[in-house]
Amino acid sequence: MLEADLIWLTILIFLPTATALTLLLVPARAAEVMRWLAVFGAAGTLSVSLCVVVGYYLLLDSRLDANGRPLYSAWTRLDARADQAASDAAQPIPKALLSDDWIARRPWIEDFDIYYALGVDGIGLSLVVLTALITLTALMASWNIEQGVRGYLILVLLLETGVIGAFLALDFFLFYVFYELMLIPMFVLIGLWGGERRRYAAFKFVVYTLTGSVAILAALLAWHTVDVRDFVDQAEVQQRVRELARERHLSESDVDNQVRIHTFDLVTLSKVGRAVMLILSGQEHRLAARDHIAEQPVWNQVPNGPVKLFAPGVDVAAAIARLKAQPVCTPSFQYLVFALLFVGFAVKVPVVPLHSWLPDAHVEAPTPISMILAGILLKLGGYGILRLAVPLCPWAAAQLSLWIGLIGVVGIVYGALVAMGQTDFKKLLAYSSVSHMGFVILGLAAWSSGGTAQYWQWGVNGAVFQMLAHGITASALFFVVGVVYDRAHHRDLRRMGGLWEPMPLYCGFSAVLFFASMGLPGLCGFVGEFFVLLSAWHFSPALAVPAVLSVILTAGYLLWTWLRVFTGVNEATASFADLTPREAATLLPYVVLAILLGVLPFTLVLKWVDPAVTGWIANLAVLR
């Protein structure tokens, strides 16, 4: 029997794939049918994702914390639920066929310790909903793709599967598979449906992203060499010992030290990372074993108190010795692996100077693909750093936090300046993405700990929110460009102007999105930037000041663009038609979300994102 959440999550991931397969059955001439089918598939995925949100939210809300308050029970934390699930699975009679923990773990390739492990928490889920929404609107924006409709739609839907899978995967290998899965459709979509220099752009995209992927793959292999026997259920270790003893015809005590357990499980690996951080920072006396495999983690651990990472029943001294003997417990390993992961994801974010694939890809990609690229794919970079790079190598992340923050700030300022110098509308938006995503990096880097960990928490919440907000504003703005490109057939800002009078509705929608992107309070772009700036000042004023000053630059380039596109009098644009109802329907959700998320960020998003972020912070902040 399968768990209900496993089924839900699998449907969520593979519903787009199923739709793509159904598309194969549609006769080639019925392009319109295919489009509608794809839209329905994407809408179905969005509905499923919303169902998961509701289910997950009910889960959070039903459990109270120690003080009787909802949403902040240990149950909201991914690692706590994963531990509980592991504990349940180890029971002689596994319970909960209808489990509601939103953790699913099935063996996939057991010989290589690879599991089909999925888990839901606020961070991943919010991005999943964003993905489903953007894919749906991108498909709605794809009506004017005439050539190879079937292939196009199939690729977009496969892309959605890859992205959602990556956001939900709890197994490093599974994550990597999904991460790569999304690369190929993107390559083909740019390479076949793109503009004039599409081959160049597609190859550049693939070379950059694959370079990043190789780095991630290297990190993946490095982590698989790590022996995690002291972090997993000891019953499993004992069984391995027995098996090995039988195989080698030796006694169990002789082979005990030869048993190695490897895993791709992210929760377990991050425990190793945290233990290594404690050892490397000279705090190994704080390491302790848990009393129960599913012991509930506490939110704010006492500074300098014990950190319970090892599995119950482990001899702590021996475990520390074993850990110390491994290469994982060396600074060079930590630095190297963190650098690999960070660079791998930084390509996607993108950070300066690894960003130069982005303008090319955006400029050449058709409008809906740009929407997906800016709205979703960049988020995978930020998500990867949040979910993998920092939790797996917290020590290196903490050591390098100032540098990471600096990278973020450089991205913010550099992106803004380059955007100011552009004359191509789409390129300008591409560089503004570089600038906006810099805030994500800065927010994640703002390590503070102990009694002031709240500041980092604001930063990380800000970073997650900034990812959502940027997903909304950036993909909507790319659609805005697409609309004007459809009418003018160029994107040259110097030849635009005067769009306000002929296209009032378009202009009104664009205004909201422009100002949301600029970070106007009351619109979604503000919240993330504001939170990140507040926590950045606490982290390092020297980094915060240029980030703050960048708001001037941002206003500068966006308003200048506004001036060049919408105001004035221009005979060339005077006869343009306003948004068609389909275009308006595509833009409307973005506009509504831009306003709603700006006004009620907590109620709508952070309320269920923050428990996950807080859990994340609680794990890491206690280490320093």
């Binding site: 914390d65 130069s356 005979e571 907590f602 912070i617």
Partner: protein
């Protein structure tokens, strides 16, 4: 009407604030629907009906009436609120003289309550739980300003019904805008009545929200919102490049200030752990409402046990740190009055560096400088006159630009002494600078704009010298008479077919007597003639200034400049009035068409004239201190104003003399104006500047040119330089220009796919591309080995075996 409103009468204000927002949303929704169905209007059916219901091609007046109705309601509520506040808080004492409520907007993390297993003392106490809260706080200052904003807005909303009447037409010809190619065809566009009122309502919401906010966060939100409304309204005539440029300039200048504001907020957040103003004051100054004094301390040691420090007394500043008081009520008991040295629990008391306290104040003040158009960020305000005149009256004279003054008044206990001095100097310099420029301008609205800068400077000066009531009283009275003056100017402009140049106006008194007389009231009020509202506030400011002059003569500029400003103010205002309304008409043709404005415009003028005249009266009339408004405002005066007691005392002592000096200044200015412009007819040429100084002033001290050279152009050059260094732009120049892309770009372009420059060492992109090229050429080099010659292969094979064996031998051996 409002749930629980008996207990929480402040919600009245929330309702009053929300009304304009609802109006905005309704107008926006209507506009969106109209835009949505517009393409479908030809198809008939529901879409067509809906389109015509929403006004069709003609802008709908109903939207404007809705906005006016909403504003009327708000104004009535605000007056009701003011009455209630003044009657209720006179008796109620426990609330600290204000109505306040707040709720969490964002609170992240689990709230750590006492009794949590993890040990509160270790975790939660170091900083209060970080939550961004939203709330309102109504005290006398808010109540007065709220009523002022609502009433002035209402007047302007009504006035605009008349002033903007051409926007109600289906097609408007804009003669000031130009087509790109056909320069002489007038630009035609649809009327934008609804849009105008939409932004005006949104602005009112933001401004009122700013006033009721109880924390820096909400103030910042409103701060930006009023800025963006100002942006839209300055750029209302979007066909005119000058309007759009001015809108941009205003917004970006404001953003410079906002960046400072953000830094101030970030410091408060990082070191005080809260953005709520009352809490900030309490943390800095201890006692309730921030009544205590700042404790500057030298930290001796911090440890787990506690914080050891010495209080620094006297003037031996800069001290290292400022002592921060614990936030929560319970913790206050632990406080031990420490005069010489003391230890307290580390977690109860923290410190923040003194310089950061300074920077926090300066940052917030920079926000005020930007919003209130003070030197050195003053250049946007005169340009903002590109907007419609009601906008100039409401936003760029009466309310938004006054928000900076309001914020300084609101944050009074937050500032360090050095910041107060900065505020005073910035105010004095701006007052003088703007007045000198106003002397020679000939655009009626620009004169008023510079006058606004100048008057706002006086307010800042007063606040900087501790004249809290003086500065804020002037804020209110200035709003009345400056709105009046702008509306009067609007009336003139409307009557004269959008002529703003005083060299073309003249002799309008007989044609438009109501406008002329009401404007005269405004002129007298701003010049500071006795018994008009401006007199009461200006007297107080000058009294403060003279107090300083007698107390600290080294700050000579701080009293010399305002006196000169008073003379100049009187001069240029009378110059304006005399030139426009008296003497012979300078443009006969124009003069013949002129007639008095309709009642919808003159009634607001009359209302504002009454307010400008009698708005600040009290009994006895001749006693400045007895001003009713002043007395109300004094109730909200923060306790720490007593730090300026020395200045205020001396001002009081000599206030008869001050009155005489001030009146003399006013009269000198007025007399000079009369001598030049009143006695004999002045020609247009005589109004032009000729002297070197005159030219310098006409060019506004060349600030715009300087900023262009120092900031704008280098930034743009840097940006395009970096952009060029990042990536060579191939799409626009090479791609699109060379091959205009066809809409159907499917299969045909592969052949001529533009090859990007491969080794482009000048750009970052090129460097990275060259990495790829290096890999490619490396592959090509290795390819040479694959020669196809069998014998070579065999030889290589043999040699490889030999080498491998040799290595084996060497390494293994």
């Amino acid at each position: 009407m409002i749930p629980g409103w008996e207990a929480t009468p402040g919600r009245l204000y929330v309702l009053a604030t929300a009304i304009p927002l609802v109006v905005t949303l309704l107008l926006a929704l209507a506009g969106m629907l109209r835009g949505w169905v517009r393409p479908l209007r030809a198809r008939g059916g529901v879409a067509q009906t809906l389109y015509w219901v929403l006004g069709g091609d003609v802008p709908l007046r109903a939207g404007a009436y809705l906005a006016v109705a909403g504003m009327t309601l708000t104004a009535l509520l605000s007056l009701l609120g003011l009455t209630l506040f003044l009657t209720q808080t006179a008796t109620a004492d426990s609330a600290g003289g204000c109505w306040a409520e707040r709720i969490d907007w964002v609170r992240v993390g689990p709230m750590v309550a006492p009794g949590d297993a993890l040990g509160t003392e270790n975790v939660a106490a170091a900083l209060p739980a970080l939550a961004l809260q939203v709330g309102y706080r109504i005290d006398a200052l808010t109540a007065v300003l709220f009523a002022m904003v609502a009433v002035v807005s209402l007047c302007i909303f009504v006035f605009a019904l008349g002033y903007m009447d051409e926007e109600t037409q289906a097609v408007v010809e804009d003669h000031e805008a130009q087509h790109q190619y056909h320069r002489h065809t007038p630009v035609r566009r649809r009327g934008r009545f609804g849009r105008f009122y939409l932004f005006l309502s949104l602005f009112c919401f933001a401004m009122l929200h700013l006033l009721i906010a109880d924390n820096l966060f909400q103030i910042f939100v409103s701060w930006e919102l009023v800025g963006v409304c100002s942006f839209w309204l300055i750029g209302f005539y979007q066909e005119r490049p000058s309007a759009s440029q001015a809108a941009n300039k205003a917004f970006i200048m404001n953003r410079v200030g906002d960046a400072g504001f953000l830094i101030g907020i970030a410091i408060a957040w990082s070191h005080l752990g809260t953005l709520n103003l009352d809490e900030i004051f309490r943390r800095l100054r201890g006692a309730e409402g921030g009544a205590g004094e700042i404790r500057r301390v030298q930290v001796l040691s911090t440890s787990e046990a506690g914080l050891e420090y010495v209080v620094v007394t006297g003037n031996d500043w800069p001290a290292q740190h400022v002592l921060l008081h614990p936030l929560t009520e319970q913790k206050r008991e632990v406080f031990r009055d420490a005069t010489e040295s003391a230890t307290a629990n580390l977690h109860d008391y923290t410190v923040m560096p003194y310089w950061l306290w300074l920077v926090m104040g300066l940052g917030i003040f920079l926000g005020c400088v930007g919003k209130s158009a003070q030197w050195p960020l003053h250049t946007w305000l005169p340009d903002a006159m590109e907007g419609p005149t009601p906008v100039s009256a409401l936003i760029h004279a009466a309310t938004m630009v006054a928000a900076g003054v309001y914020l300084v008044g609101r944050c009074f206990p937050l500032f360090a002494p050095e910041v107060f001095l900065t505020i005073a100097y910035v105010g004095a310099i701006t007052a003088f600078l703007a007045a000198t420029i106003a002397l020679v301008q000939t655009d009626i609205k620009r004169i008023l704009a510079y006058s606004t800068c100048s008057q706002l400077g006086l307010m800042f000066l007063a606040l900087g010298l501790g004249g809290w009531t003086a500065g804020l009283l002037h804020l209110v009275t200035h709003a009345f008479f400056k709105a009046l003056l702008f509306l009067g100017a609007g009336s003139v402009i409307h009557a004269c077919g959008h002529v703003q140049d005083i060299t073309r106006l003249g002799g309008l008194y007989r044609k438009m007597p109501i406008t002329a007389l009401t404007m005269l009231v405004g002129v007298l009020a701003i010049a500071g003639f006795p018994f008009l509202s401006g007199w009461y506030s200006k007297e107080r400011i000058l009294s403060q200034v003279m107090g300083l002059g007698l107390y600290q003569p080294e700050h000579i500029l701080l009293w010399l400049l305002p006196l000169l400003t008073t003379i100049m103010t009187s001069y240029y205002m009378f110059r304006l009035w005399l030139t426009v309304f008296t003497g012979p008409p300078r443009d006969k043709q124009l003069h013949d068409q002129v007639h008095e404005s309709p009642a919808v415009m003159t009634v607001p003028l009359l209302v504002l004239a009454v307010l400008s005249g009698a708005g600040a009266w009290g009994w006895p009339l001749w006693e400045v201190e007895a001003s009713w408004l002043g007395q109300v405002l004094e109730k909200a005066q923060p306790a720490m104003v007593r730090e300026f007691a020395a200045i205020t005392e001396r001002g009081h002592q000599y206030h008869t003399w001050t009155g005489i000096v001030a009146l003399a200044c006013t009269l000198v200015g007025a007399a000079a104006a009369y001598l030049w412009f009143g006695r004999t007819p002045v020609t247009a040429e005589q109004l032009q500047v000729r002297t070197l100084v005159g030219r310098f002033l006409w060019q506004k001290w060349y600030f715009d040119e300087a900023y262009e050279a120092i900031w704008v152009r280098p930034t743009v050059r840097l940006a395009s330089g970096i952009a060029a260094a990042d990536k060579r732009s191939t799409t626009v120049e090479a791609g699109i220009a060379a091959h205009p892309p066809s809409p159907d770009r499917s299969e045909e372009t592969t052949a001529e796919e533009a090859t990007p420059p491969r080794f482009d060492w000048g750009t970052l992109d090129g460097w990275l591309n060259s990495l790829g090229d290096a890999a490619a050429s490396g592959g090509a080099a290795v390819q040479q080995w694959q020669s196809g010659r069998l014998r070579l292969y065999v030889l290589t094979l043999a040699l490889t075996v030999v080498v491998l064996l040799a290595m084996l031998v060497v390494l293994a051996g």
